[in-house]
Amino acid sequence: MKSDELLVKTVSLIPFVFLAAIFVFLVYQAVPSIFYNGLRFFTSYVWNPGMTFEQPVKGPFGFEASPGATFGVLLFLFGTLITSALAISLVVPVTLLTSVALALYVPRPMAKVISSSLQLFAAVPSVVYGLWGVSFLEPALLKYVFPWSETALGFIPWFRGPATSGSGIVASASVLVLMVLPITSSIVLDTFMTYQSRLQAPILSLGATKAETGFVILRLIKRQVIGATFLGLARALGETMAVLMTCGGAINSMPSSIYSPVNTMAAAIASLLDSAFIDPSGMTLSALAEVGLLLMVISLASSAIGKAMTGRVALRGEVL
């Protein structure tokens, strides 16, 4: 092999190397926790690093942990799923409606402005959404929205309150909506307009209304819409900072209402990693690695489904 070919082929291996390394290191680091916590990891929401100032003791299979340590990911898993699901359930209808509106009802120049500004949502860093969430959204929720929902929707158990803080499921899901929107809307709008250019004339020439035209095209691009949703979901699952700042940092307690603080896997890793430094047994770090592994698997799965359906990948707010 010639030297230039060798150079290219070698450097091209680097992504593989890192991908494999990420997987290997996470698994390797997580092994103690996998064995020590076993299935309890997935069924318990208790996260207790134990008495880390004392000498580590040996647990099952010989792995060490601080006395009394037990780790469970259930709270984080639940929080991740519920905030993402809530966000997606708002993102999808908004995306669909916006696509129909921008393609069919809004005059062309205005439509370009609006679709560009949708991409501007992606340019805002995650921490800045967190800052906005903490200083604007949360007080607004607490002062205006929650009092209303406590009374108006209070008959539903999960809306009963009392709401004591703006942080929690609602705030996190809200910032997630703003972050996922550019991804799903760019894919759906792009696909919609491609089909529209070919099909709008024949559909309308048969006497269809604009709404009917829009819905027909949406039905034809169903696969891409679902795929875009999975790509957006992958983003929501992995989002860290904005959620970290708005979720309320719950630990060792499952949310009891929509106003409760919550925590997600990504946010938990970010906030708990420093507590791992002071755990001499290293079990906290191992448990966090297991959380990371779980998060990685779920995100990769969602991304893979999304890629299979749309042929695209989403990176932060950009769609490739």
Binding site: I22, A270, M296
Partner: protein
């Protein structure tokens, strides 16, 4: 055969139109709400001294954080551009079809990794295992993992867009594959690659999770690639807003404004280069 009520169909059309327009307007409003609030908040507490002095998140300024962000993102860009361009070459010029599809899967998988997973990996491998400690090198290497897929895809698109005629002509003159690659392809792909790089830079500047446990924090400037921590703007935003003091909040808002302004500027330049490149092609 009964007529479908035209009135009902038009009603649906009207409702859809109203709902669609309302939602679009609401989105614009939301964007204004976020950006407006941040810039307003930044303006309120701002004092120009923040931009020229260093500080930690409770006092002083943002200079160390600004420089740190550029250092981290810039170095990360260097790493990921190097690898990304070679990957793109591998996919377009030097590839076999078997390795190509595997390569694409690897790149897509990297792109799908959550930022905190990368941050955790960076901590485990660069900070601890490779003993870099919290440092510029650890932070930028972790960040480069995130930027890599973007650069690889940009470079691949850029190289594919170079008209085949150019490389054919060069080959016909007896050029080797490497010569064609460097003298023809990379040369004409430059604008698009640079535009992609600026885009990646803008994304990297706004990231936090990868850096929290790899770059650390520094109220001053890092002294070397390893052994010295780095400050960065997104850290100021996070830590600043979490402090109780007004001044910390002001710093956080100011950092946010600097970040958004920088990102928008990078995006604008990136788009401009992309358009200029298209015009010259």
């Amino acid at each position: 055969m009964k007529d479908r009520s035209a009135g009902r169909r038009y009603l649906l059309d009207g409702i859809t139109r109203f709902a669609g327009l309302a939602i679009s307007a609401a989105l614009l409003l939301a964007l204004l709400l976020v950006l407006g609030y941040v810039f307003l908040g930044a303006g309120v507490g701002f004092n120009p001294g923040m931009l020229i002095s260093t500080g930690n998140t409770t006092s002083g300024g943002l200079l160390n954080a600004i420089v740190g962000t550029w250092l981290l993102a810039g170095l990360a860009l260097a790493f990921s551009a190097f690898v990304g361009i070679f990957v793109a070459l591998g996919l377009t010029q030097y590839g076999g079809s078997r390795t190509s599809s595997l390569q694409r899967v690897a790149i897509d998988a990297l792109a799908a990794l959550p930022s905190m997973v990368l941050g955790l990996f960076g901590y485990l491998v660069f900070v601890i295992y490779l003993r870099m400690g919290f440092s510029l090198l650890a932070g930028s290497l972790t960040l480069s993992l995130m930027m890599l897929p973007y650069l690889a895809k940009s470079a691949e698109t850029a190289i594919s867009n170079v008209p085949k005629e150019f490389s054919e002509a060069a080959y016909a003159l007896g050029a080797s594959r490497w010569q064609v690659t460097t003298r023809v392809l990379l040369r004409f792909a430059k604008p698009l690659i640079i535009s992609g790089a600026l885009l990646a830079l803008s994304i990297g500047a706004g990231e936090t999770a990868q850096l929290l446990y790899t770059a650390g924090w520094n109220p001053g400037f890092p002294t070397w690639f390893v052994g010295s921590q780095v400050g960065y703007l997104t850290y100021v935003v996070w830590a600043g807003i979490n402090q109780p003091s007004e001044y910390s909040h002001a710093l956080a808002f100011a950092a946010s404004a600097v970040l958004i302004g920088t990102i928008l500027a990078l995006l604008a330049v990136s788009k401009w280069i992309e358009n200029k490149g298209a015009k010259n092609a």
